[in-house]
Symmetry: C2
Subunit: 405 residues, 2 copies
Amino acid sequence: MAIIVQKYGGSSVADAEKIKNVACRLMRAQEQGNQVVAVVSAMGKTTDSLISLANEVSTRPNRREMDSLLSTGEIVTATLLTMALRSAKHKAISLTGAQAGITTDSSHSKAKITGINPERIIEEINRGRIVIVAGFQGITEEMDVTTLGRGGSDTSAVALAISLNADKCETYTDVEGVYTADPRIVPAARKIEEIGYEDMLELASVGAKVMHSRAVELGWVYNMPILVASSFNDNPGTLIHGGVPMEIRNKVSGIAHDLNIAKITVVGVPDKPGIASTIFEELADKGVSVDSIVQNASVNRITDLTFTLARGDVQNAMKALEPVIKSVGAKECVSDVTLGKVSIIGAGMQSGPGYASRMFKALSDKGINIELISTSEIRITCIIDGDKVPEAVQALHDVFELEAE
Amino acid sequence: MAIIVQKYGGSSVADAEKIKNVACRLMRAQEQGNQVVAVVSAMGKTTDSLISLANEVSTRPNRREMDSLLSTGEIVTATLLTMALRSAKHKAISLTGAQAGITTDSSHSKAKITGINPERIIEEINRGRIVIVAGFQGITEEMDVTTLGRGGSDTSAVALAISLNADKCETYTDVEGVYTADPRIVPAARKIEEIGYEDMLELASVGAKVMHSRAVELGWVYNMPILVASSFNDNPGTLIHGGVPMEIRNKVSGIAHDLNIAKITVVGVPDKPGIASTIFEELADKGVSVDSIVQNASVNRITDLTFTLARGDVQNAMKALEPVIKSVGAKECVSDVTLGKVSIIGAGMQSGPGYASRMFKALSDKGINIELISTSEIRITCIIDGDKVPEAVQALHDVFELEAE
């Protein structure tokens, strides 16, 4: 009998009706002859409510305690879903991360899975039970509860699928799969049937929020196919896997965008070794995450240093830079919080030339100015005016003919 | 350094402000030179909300799942209280029942503690931390979460106090202690300074809801003194212990009452051996708990059988009795759901005569009819008209001079 692992996100289990709907899906999967393991997130806005409670009692909640607090959200969903299944006369049992044998390191709030002992899960599925595992959590060797951070439940699900030798890991959410662009911006955006791990990683890293890159990375390392589909219908979804045919690989697979972009330019920096590192070390110390960095050509040994970052970090960054500007002898700092970025992604771009020039031409044809460019082997990203992002995404979707299958 | 165990009930931790108040109390206890362990209940109505959720997905929620679900309520309180303490720069850590080493049998929803391994708690208090334990819960040998049922957090606290060799177990709640009668009925009711385990047990068993009898029993067996006091002020409260002086023991210590009483009479029962057991076995099978039983003197080998029960059980009981009446050849069943009970309690009553007669006279002086009488070694209970209960409690409080110290 095949083991399947299904993961349901917070919006798929947001209330009692939705939980019953998930129960029906799991029963159907079992009736089709599978051994079924489900991983669940906390219901709807539960995690946010718990965080608010924590902020009411503490300005800076301790991370170990926060992990223990937040882990209850997934346990609640897991037990309710199990009750719904049992109420429909199906054998089922809920397991916490600890009971499911998920051990992690002790980096609270962003723990890494160190191992899974699937003994209990296997015992339960062999008794004919559907096993519901609380996602997002694990336990340290010292029996302390940890959470896996952003994308945690996806990571739990992929890791369990790997340790149980499942054929694939199915993740169900409130979108129908991975699209060639955000359908809210490009109405003709096409759902991608299958996509390689690399492409999916690049999409995730530049703003396609369907699945966290960490879960994709894990799937890639162990070659575990991951399905992304909707929990509200039976449409096919997107399969992320390693065996994507050449024809599909050899082109742009999608357009990603991100509206949460700002830019800071440090003006009049003396062009001497060690100055850039002074600046970026100071920012890292203050917890500011920097994205792309560009240094202009130096004139009279004076240059400008520009970098992009999330809009929410600008205030912190400007404050952190104040003393640094003085100490390195720069002139001033200017910020721009009105930016956005568009990216084209595709493993095929590595071998085929001309993708960058086609992208730049498409943007310039629309009169869109490119502020910054950054690339990886399979991605080209342009920072542009935030207001122009929707137009840019649509233009790139047209130029790279993503509408057609 | 002395170890103290304090327990805070749901109303004492109902919101962020109350949790901060409890944090202050714990810090003060530590600053007075104690090693402090606190046991907490779920916040306010949390448990009720979780039960409602369960009822939305299942008409008869599975008990193992319900335990896992409900256990999250106490974990939430424990983590929030710990965050509040840490936010006030005190060392603190929360522990789930499992982490605190509380093992139980596997009777879900009413598990019994089988042992406590206090190693982790001792390690943590020796590091100078205040340890906050989620009450009401434990874990089986198979790592399944259990809850201890009604009065569970009190039981957790007393059990922990015993295993840690604490001097006493302090339980804090929204009342100031144990009273000679319900202060809402008898405005002059006096707070009892100290009371023996036996008296407290009898008070609890007949409706004084300050502390569940199970926790008192445990305290009695291990001779662990239990303080009952308010979490909202520093008034002294009531100490339940074994060494209550003779003078205090040798009299009535309190008046308890209960308005949730009904009576069923099976009329015209043939007075033959085995018939009563047939009737009461049938009721037990249907989950109906019977309190007192009285059989009238038999006339022509025909008798009436009367018993009391909770008002909520009457419908079930009447239904269960229908077939039995026919099979044993009784005439009919009649019920009365308008009853109440009053009890006088006191270890001294064993040795001093005349308590019963003084009680009956006090009631008859007020024109109150006694429907049924039941007694234990240290308790006399009268079933009377429910409407007359307040008057009866007041009269008994006067007659036995409980107002005066």
